[in-house]
Chain length 237, copies 2
Amino acid sequence: MKAADKAKHRTDMISSALRSAILERVLMPGMKLPEDSLGERFGVSRTLIRQSLERLAAEGLVELRRNKGAMVAKPSLEEARDLFELRTQIEDLVISRVIKNMNPEILDELEAHLAKEIAAEHASEPISIRLATEFHILLAKLAGSPVLLRYVEEIGYRCGLTLSLYARPHSTDCGIQEHRQIIDALAKGDEETARELMRHHLTAVADRALFTTVEGGPLLYLDALEPYAKKVRDGGA
Amino acid sequence: MKAADKAKHRTDMISSALRSAILERVLMPGMKLPEDSLGERFGVSRTLIRQSLERLAAEGLVELRRNKGAMVAKPSLEEARDLFELRTQIEDLVISRVIKNMNPEILDELEAHLAKEIAAEHASEPISIRLATEFHILLAKLAGSPVLLRYVEEIGYRCGLTLSLYARPHSTDCGIQEHRQIIDALAKGDEETARELMRHHLTAVADRALFTTVEGGPLLYLDALEPYAKKVRDGGA
DNA sequence: TGTGGCGAAATTGCATGCAATCCTTTATAC
DNA sequence: GTATAAAGGATTGCATGCAATTTCGCCACA
């Protein structure tokens, strides 16, 4: 076996690439995702693209209409509300669990992530957006429950997608300040405050998102995908 | 379009068939699921089987090891505990929501399901087991949140699978009495009692499950799958 | 008798091909 | 000029084929 034996297989890499592209708003809700165009870009056959699309569809990031192809999901306002409401309740569980597991290493990881967020804040809008989502996922990892993690990931991704539909472009969708405060409360072991802050944070995000309608019927054009595809073709992560 | 235009496609039917077979303990944890044997049984090519297996793997009912094929998932005790713990917390949310939506129609549905459970109680063990799981899923449906429903489904199925590994065979895994009480509390609109009953119910199920080890290395033999396959081949639901 | 390795059979990973379906455009009738 | 219909092109649904990987049986050898 080679040194850097590719841990995952191509389907995983393609799914991840597409997921990132969606979260970084390179692929916008409603964009078509034709199998052969993608296959050509990624240098694989339709088979693998199909698998990836199905996986993303299971996560709710892609809509898969029979005989009509795939497109980036375009959640309705109702779905979006449902999503954010559940998110608040689920991440409440996360906070409770993280508090129980709290230790210096965990704190380090959180601080490290926050540092990344701060670094990207003025450097790259798309990456900053993705990092905001991943803060919540990091928390879920630290909660120590694989199943809970999966759900937070999925909800987080879908909320990220929703924000790209409904949030106004230049709001920092997930206030870094708010992440800061949550970490501080966790560091102090103050469960009540941490939960309250998280609830408040998520409500704020949802509010910023769900009352500004950004209509605009986009369609094709996946040229912007090229950097993501290249990484996969070159075997990168 | 034909009268009974097949609402779903063959992949869905196959996934459902396999899921039922797992929940009814026809397919036991650890059993191998080779693509061509299944394809032959179901009268389709490996392609569709593969898709179905991947879907079930995403749900956690099937384990998919690269180059080594699929098998019915065999959750560790640790995973099982994680699952049941989260289940308790998630279904707590379900109860809260169902209470808010409570109305006579909902009550009817619950009563109808309970009637089915009672009918199957002494008639068919496998079906009785499946119905017990589906009681919880019906509740989640009535909660009105599609996302929450998906998670309850998944957790419920996985818990059902877990029970077939760890629970002693002849316990009624989900006491019908307990379902009865929960419905009554819901009917009265007594949220606290309903939540408490559900917590107690799920804890009881978990306890019955997680302390009896039913070792036994099963492997192949999917002949028992035949009835499930037949339904799919004939285009039934 | 137990162990290591070699080769064949079984099984998956992926690409490709053909048929079915849907969408678009063009042509024709009113 | 609008509307309807038919043909052509594009795209998915599914099956099949070949290469790669794993598994298992077999034999040599300690």
